[in-house]
Point group: C2
Chain length 361, copies 2
Amino acid sequence: MADSKVSPVPLLKDELDIVIPTIRNLDFLEMWRPFFQPYHLIIVQDGDPSKVIKVPEGFDYELYNRNDINRILGPKASCISFKDSACRCFGYMVSKKKYIYTIDDDCFVAKDPSGKDINALEQHIKNLLCPATPHFFNTLYDPYREGADFVRGYPFSLREGVPTAVSHGLWLNIPDYDAPTQLVKPLERNKRYVDAVLTIPKSTLFPMCGMNLAFDRDLIGPAMYFGLMGDGQPLGRYDDMWAGWCMKVICDHLGYGVKTGLPYIWHSKASNPFVNLKKEYKGIYWQEELIPFFQAAKLPKDCTTVQECYIELSKQVKAKLGGVDEYFIKLADAMVTWIEAWDELNPSDSKAANLPNGAQK
Amino acid sequence: MADSKVSPVPLLKDELDIVIPTIRNLDFLEMWRPFFQPYHLIIVQDGDPSKVIKVPEGFDYELYNRNDINRILGPKASCISFKDSACRCFGYMVSKKKYIYTIDDDCFVAKDPSGKDINALEQHIKNLLCPATPHFFNTLYDPYREGADFVRGYPFSLREGVPTAVSHGLWLNIPDYDAPTQLVKPLERNKRYVDAVLTIPKSTLFPMCGMNLAFDRDLIGPAMYFGLMGDGQPLGRYDDMWAGWCMKVICDHLGYGVKTGLPYIWHSKASNPFVNLKKEYKGIYWQEELIPFFQAAKLPKDCTTVQECYIELSKQVKAKLGGVDEYFIKLADAMVTWIEAWDELNPSDSKAANLPNGAQK
C-alpha cells in the first residue's frame, strides 16, 4: 500500500486547532513550543473567569472563559460543563478547522525508546490522514505504515480501508486508571512503549481518554460532546468516555474508523484518587448499564449525518437510560442542546448535513 | 489484577505437545533445543513417506507419515491433506495433551530488542493461562500483564475476562504476506518488535497464521481443522486461515478468547511467490465470499460443544458456500469426517462433550 503512505507528514497548520482545557502549568506550553507554535490554540478556561491564564509570547491563541461561553451560547450554554475539563468541547464547537487536537496541561513531550522527543501531533496527523481498517483485523497492526502491509488472508476488497475520524494517543508514566485502581496500585507507571497503531474493530467499544486525542472535526465533530460534568452534576471523569462511546457507535454506523496506539505523551501527574473516587463512583456502577446500552445501540439507515445520528442517540439515551437515573434525562436534553448550538455556530455544516455525500460546502 | 498474573510461568511439560509439519531444516531443532527439549514432539510428515526425517538425539518425539495416517484413520484419512503442511492437524488429533504449540521448520528463535533470545513457548503459555478480554477493548493492551491494568472506563464486570483458547504469535524478518504482496514487495522485512499482546475483539475476524500458534486443545481442539489443501486440491495456503475463521466464530459463540501479538519467532525464508500464487489464486477471490459468510455466521444456542458447533458450521458451509465452488461441498464433508475421526481417537472428549460445563473427564 505504498501509495497510501504519508511521507513526509504535512503540518496542516491552517487546518488544525489545538484545544486545551485551561492551562495551570506554566511549563506546559514552553515544553510543547517547538511542536505547537505553528498552530492556533483554543484555550477553554474551566473555572473562575476572573483568574488570568498566562500564555507565553509567540503563541497564536484565543481564550474563552465562562463569561464568553455564556455570551456566545446564551441559554444553550447550559450544555457546556463548568469547573470541569469537559468544557473543552466548547473549543471543538467554535473552531473552524478540519482537525482538532486536544491535550491536558499535565501532559508533556515523551521520548521514544531511542531517546528522541516524540512529536505527538505529527503522529496524530499521520493516523488521521491514513485510512482505518475496522472490518477485519490486521495482525501486523497498521497496514499503511512503512515496513508493514496487509498479511496473507486479508481480503483485497477491504484493503482500501475507510476514512479515519479519530486518533486516540496513549500515555507513558502515569496510566489513565480509575480511582479504585489508582488506590490499589499507587506506584504503577506505564513504562512500555508499544510501537503500534491499530484500528478499533467495528462494533467494539473502548475507553476513549481525552488527554491526548485528535479527530477530524468535519467527519465526526458534533459527536464529540463531553457531556455534563463538574459543577452541579453528579458525575466527573466520564466526559471523554461518554464522547467515546457515542462517537464509536456513530463511526460504526457511518463507516468511519477509529485508531488507538501511538503517539505517546508523558503524563506527569496522577490526579488525587480520593477526589477522583468522589467524581467517579456513580459512573462506576452506571457504566455497567451504559456499556450494554451502547453495545446494543443501532441507528436507523436514514440517519446519514453526525447530527442526525446524535439526535437519534439522545432519544435512545432518554428512553433506555432515563430509568437508570434522572441524570440521563438531563444529559439527553443537553445532547440536543449541544447539536443546536453546534449548528448555530456552524451554519454551513448544518446545511451541508442534509446534502448527499461529497456535496458538502 | 495482580492475582491474575502468571509469574513464574509454569513449563507445562506434561500438558503440552509441539506439533511440527515435517522437518526439512536440520538446524531447526538444534536451534530450538534449549526451549523444546523438555516437551514431546509430534512430527507429521507432509510428503513422500519413504523419505526419512532425521531428529537429533535427545528429543522425545513421535513421527507420523502418510502410511501411518492411513493406517490409523482408515477411510477417514481422506480429511487429512497430503503434500501440504495442513497435515499438521493430524497431530492435534492424536495428541493427548491439553495444549498444542505448532511451528514451521523455517521459523527460528528471534531476539527481543535487548538482544535476548525469545522463549516463544513461554510467552504462549503466559497468553493461554491468562484470561482474554473480547467484550471491550483495553487501550493499554493486555490488562493482566505486569505493569498494566484495565484503564479508566473499563467496566468492572468484564475484568475477570474469559478463558483464552488461542495464542497467535507473530514473525520478525519475513512477514506472512500473500503472493501478490510478496511479488510487489520482495524486499520488505518485518523489523518492528511490537511489545504487546491483545485480545481480538468478539465478532472480529483476523487472518490466523499457523507458523507460530498455540491453543488449548481441550477448549477448542476440534475446531482447529486445517482443511483440504495440497495434493489433489485446488487450493493451498488457506489451511490456517480456514481454521482461524471457523475457530473464531466458535470461540465467539462459546465465550472463549483469542489473543495475538507476542511472541515473535524469526521467519527465515520467504516461500516462492510464483508457487504461492498458483496455490492461492482461487483463495484470493473465494475469500471475498468467505469473509462475509463467516462474519454473518450465527450458531444456534443449543450448540454447546466445539464438535456440535463445528458440525453446524459444516452444514452452513455446504448450504451457503457450495454455490461458490464444489470444493466447498467436499470441504464441508471433510469437516464432518474430521469430527468423526477426532471423536474416534478421543472417545472421552466426545462423551464429555455432552456433559454440562465442568463435568468433563
